[in-house]
């Protein structure tokens, strides 16, 4: 995989940060994707109003499609097999509900407001993710 010019992640990150800022100042809520997905599917009984959650979840692929058509076509390089994807999806779904958030809610929004829970969660999931990659690439696979 080619290295990416830092300009892309910096601009993309800025856009994500601005999106989170707008969501707070306009709707008064945390832009947490796992929470919105749980709300949109009706799994979470608390959270953003259902139409907002649906709109947010629909907006994600729409935004990605706009960038893919106008700016750059991102490569979606998935190395995992179908069973691994299913196991990973189950873990991500269950884990984000149990831990109340994912990379967006804890990682971006939580760190920005210096929430101790979010900082602890982010350090924890970064570490367990790095460990999972280490084991799957350098111990089991590789």
């Amino acid at each position: 995989m080619e290295p990416l010019s830092p300009l892309m992640p910096l601009t993309g990150g800025l856009l994500i940060g601005l999106a989170a800022a707008l969501f707070l100042l306009l709707n008064g809520r945390i832009a947490g994707v796992s929470g919105m997905a749980a709300r949109a599917t009706g799994i979470a009984s608390e959270g953003a109003p259902w139409p907002s959650a649906i709109a947010f979840v629909v907006g994600l692929p729409a935004g990605a499609a706009i960038v893919a058509h106008l700016i750059r076509q991102p490569d979606i390089a998935v190395t995992s097999s179908a069973p691994v994807l299913v196991a990973a999806g189950l873990l991500v779904g269950y884990g984000t509900r149990l831990g109340n958030g994912c990379t967006s809610g804890h990682g971006v929004c939580g760190i920005a407001r210096l929430s101790p829970r979010s900082i602890a969660a982010t350090v924890t999931f970064m570490a367990s993710a790095a460990l999972a990659v280490f084991i799957s690439r350098h111990v089991v696979g590789g």
Binding site: L4, M8, G12, A19, G28, F56, I71, G93, S115
Partner: protein, 146 residues
């Protein structure tokens, strides 16, 4: 207006994920692979994303309520409990294995690959499983989102 704002935020978020290449599992895994050919991209994304969000939290302190809602819905809990840590551990393992977290997985479903669909379907099943697990029901009612 609230729904329209949520749509705009979703679009910006999705565009940011595509622009920054966080939508690419290989890029995310390369960041997580500290023992391999490490890729700093995710770090740049976090560094750029946190300041605007932090400024918004500072502005929020001077606001009585958000523009389109009657009040702010910000979790106040500061308790570090086993649910937070075990949830984060499970999420991290899944994230590392597939290279997908919820945002990029949802954003990439329209980009012509089938894998995000399978991942998102499994993720929704995982969320539903949490909902029906007895101890988890307590967690759901006791703690706020994030």
């Amino acid at each position: 207006m609230r729904t329209l704002a949520a749509l705009l935020v979703g679009v910006m978020f999705g565009a940011g994920l595509a622009l920054s290449d966080m939508i690419n599992p290989a890029r995310v895994q390369a960041f997580l692979d500290v023992a391999g050919a490490w890729d700093p991209t995710l770090l740049f994304v976090m560094v750029a994303a946190i300041p605007p969000s932090a400024v918004a939290y500072l502005i929020r302190r001077r606001m009585y309520r958000p523009l389109f809602s009657e009040r702010f819905f910000i979790p106040e809990s500061r308790t570090l409990d086993w649910r937070l840590f075990s949830g984060a551990v499970l999420f991290g393992v899944g994230w590392g294995l597939a290279g997908f977290c919820p945002g990029p997985a949802l954003a990439s479903i329209v980009l012509g690959v089938w894998q995000p669909w399978l991942f998102v379907a499994a993720m929704i099943v995982g969320m539903a499983l949490h909902r029906v697990t007895p101890p988890a029901r307590v967690a759901l009612s006791k703690s706020q989102q994030v």
